[in-house]
Subunit: 454 residues, 2 copies
């Protein structure tokens, strides 16, 4: 009995001292990120010296070179590229659009959706029909839609606390609106921008054309523009809408994922990935989406190295290419991992902006999630209260087929769709402390994953 | 036994259905704040139409008139003023300062501290000594300090997760630096701005002169300016520093707290206060500090009224006057409450900026705090995870002597000191959703306090 008790107390003490050691190390991680962090300066370089970096563009290639160089300068054990062919869509000359009522033309801000076809060089002008969703569109039928432009104007639901939920509830209009409209003979699709803010910034983003359906041009209109158009339609149902866009899909281009690695000291064959995506839309610097995730991921490895933390497992920072309009980099990474028989125990992605940390979403079995629960008290003092089932991240998604547990870094979501895919997703919208807190949060999780496995 | 069991189950069901009713009502509160909120538009009026409103100024009086009118238009049961005499300090002509090395003069941005005396009309120029804290200053002694300007240059600690802790650890330099320097014969005091950001904005704020000590002029210098000065001193210890400021304390002025009230239906004599302070520093529009708290407080009452929530207790929105440089409004409010034998069961203040909500700090007995704990699961879905002992708020502080339980609304602190007391605390730095989430959080707490008491 005494022996059992001693053993029990010994175990308890062991658990307690492991917790204490973890707690001290996590404190050190935050001190390093907040006191000597490099992520903000790196983000300045990526956004201000390189800027937009849509897949296939010169900016994307510069970003590949830059991130490779930064990780090499940090002296990580290995830095390497993974070649991947990516879609190459270009916007061309800036779009034009106006509401045409009698002799009056009121200009509204639009941006072609990524992957859209161009209008004819003269643009397209037609009557325009406002709908809120696909059932409403289908109820109108081909008779009323044929030859018209369809205007999808269902706003994101402002009462959703997590704005990604509201986005999820509205983005079908952007992704599939052109196809649904084309099925009924429409000649164009205009989509209300995905944001709760009322302003003049159109929000681009990818669309998907269905097979066997005409490819019609589609663009996002700013929320102020959408409100004006909706109001104008109430007053003048027979007004026409004009838009012209000059975008084009070129032949696939060669590009790369960029990977930096610190080799594990005890279990080098077990890999933990932390990453973001290096490509961005073409309208802005891609600061929140997803420059932030990239520099935070490099910072995780820098912090571990600087603190002399020799990980048991192999830790990789991965800058994925082509999340925005293809996900080719994420798919390629998982394909290579499978082909090379690599064991990825966990992957952490930051692709929800450089905002103040809230927690992590987990994609894994209940047993795997259970393993993470004892870490909650270690992370709570840093504002990481929301740890539980959730989504991982688009780029790491394909790793799920290999049994990898996925973690999505969850920053606060309130401001994300103020900037997402607009001309204002620039460095100036980044708070240094929020960015650094995010990097530290990811480093703390990677540290715990490395120490305790899954 | 059966009877007891039935009673027990009945109680359980009662508790569960009360929780459900609360949960539904809190959801309605958030829907109203996020779907039809008025706080953002009110803040636009307060900041853009009125702007700076330091105690005693014309702006402060306009803000009194404006908030009275807004609450009257909302049809609250009663809107009234509480007269209070306030200090009236004016900055006068913009300050000038430069680092003087040989024939070179390098201009640096400064702002006189609130309550400071002016320099002589020609300004003051003297040698300058950098210290990090008061013990270091005292160790230098009068011999080295006499006739000099003292430069207090201890930064806020960037590794503190809550930036208010870092502020608390540095602000003695601003509050008491001039007095401590004057005790040793200094002729001026220059204080590093209270922020983690490196930029060109000086952060003003109140100072306190000690009795029986010479009043010497004191100003805040921007962090970039402080870094330049410190570096220049390393290279040229004998450089001189020049500054000129033109501020003045005038005779006390008449001003007001503004109070809006919804009368309680069951216990009208029990009062719950929700408030912020109406005055702001003179350098900017006072958007985060504390226009946000004011419009959020009015919004709490508007939401209750709009949802047809007839509170059991009396709910008051209080716009306190003179938090920044006197706290006269807060003291007056508590004095009147005492004189009128009013029973204030709880007071909630929002004075930490219009950022995304994190929780509430509570000042009360352990028993009172215990009463709040069952509400945590009701508030957690809205990001309000941090509910526990903490600070209330300066304006409601004097109510503690009446046994009132104090609640300080806790928004995320990472960006607060980017703007605090600077020329950039303007409407443009406010996120509409974050502001509205704050108002809803406060309304949810006030609702629970009203329903369940303390």
């Amino acid at each position: 009995m005494k022996k059992t008790l001693t053993l029990f107390l010994g175990l308890l003490t062991g658990v307690a001292s492991a917790q204490t050691a973890d707690s001290v190390m996590i404190r050190n991680i935050y001190n390093e990120a907040l006191g000597n962090g490099k992520s903000y300066e790196w983000l300045r370089q990526l956004t201000k010296q390189i800027g937009p970096r849509l897949s296939g563009s010169a900016g994307a290639q510069k970003a590949v070179d830059w991130s490779k160089q930064v990780m090499e300068q940090q002296g990580f054990d290995r830095v390497f590229l993974q070649e991947v062919m990516v879609p190459y869509w270009v916007r061309g000359k800036k779009e034009e659009a106006y509401i045409h009522i009698g002799s009056q033309k009121r200009t509204v801000p639009i941006a072609a959706l990524g992957g859209s076809v161009a209008t004819s060089p003269k643009g397209v002008e037609a009557g325009i029909i406002e709908v809120k969703n696909f059932p409403e569109l289908r109820a109108l039928g081909a008779e009323k839609v044929k030859g018209k432009i369809v205007f999808f104007n269902r706003p994101m639901d402002p009462t959703k606390i997590n704005t990604f939920e509201a986005y999820g509830g509205a983005v079908d209009q952007r992704a599939n609106g052109a196809t649904e409209a084309a099925k009924l003979g429409a000649v164009g699709a205009i989509v209300r921008s995905m944001t709760n803010v009322h302003d003049d910034n159109p929000h681009t983003g990818g669309l998907r054309y269905g097979t066997g359906v005409a490819l019609i041009p589609s663009a996002a209109i700013s929320t102020n523009g959408a409100d004006l158009l909706s109001q104008s339609l109430k007053e003048n149902p027979n007004l026409t809408f004009y838009f012209k866009q000059n975008c084009e899909t070129l032949a696939d281009a060669k590009s790369y994922n960029v990977v930096g690695e610190i080799k594990g000291s005890e279990k080098p064959d077990e890999i933990i990935v932390v990453g973001g995506h290096l490509d961005s839309w073409d309208l802005a610097e891609g600061a929140h989406d997803d420059g932030a995730g990239c520099v935070q991921s490099i910072e995780v490895l820098r912090i571990m190295k600087t603190l002399g933390l020799k990980p048991k497992r192999t830790i990789r920072a991965v800058m994925f290419m082509n999340e925005e309009n293809g996900l080719r980099g994420g798919v390629k990474y998982a394909d290579l991992a499978k082909a090379n028989n690599e064991k990825h125990i966990a992957a952490v992605e930051s692709d929800n902006g450089g905002f103040t940390p809230r927690g992590f979403g987990i994609v894994g079995t209940p047993q795997q999630r259970e393993k993470v629960m004892p870490w909650k008290p270690l992370l709570a003092p840093y504002g990481l209260a929301e740890i539980g089932p959730g989504s991982g991240g688009a780029d790491i998604g394909p790793l799920a087929q290999l049994g990898t547990v996925l973690f999505g870094f969850k920053p606060d979501s309130q401001r994300y769709f103020d900037y997402h895919h607009t001309p204002v997703d620039n460095f100036e919208t980044i708070s240094q402390r929020e960015l650094e807190m995010g990097a530290a949060s990811m480093a703390a999780l990677v540290y715990l994953l490395d120490q305790h496995g899954l």
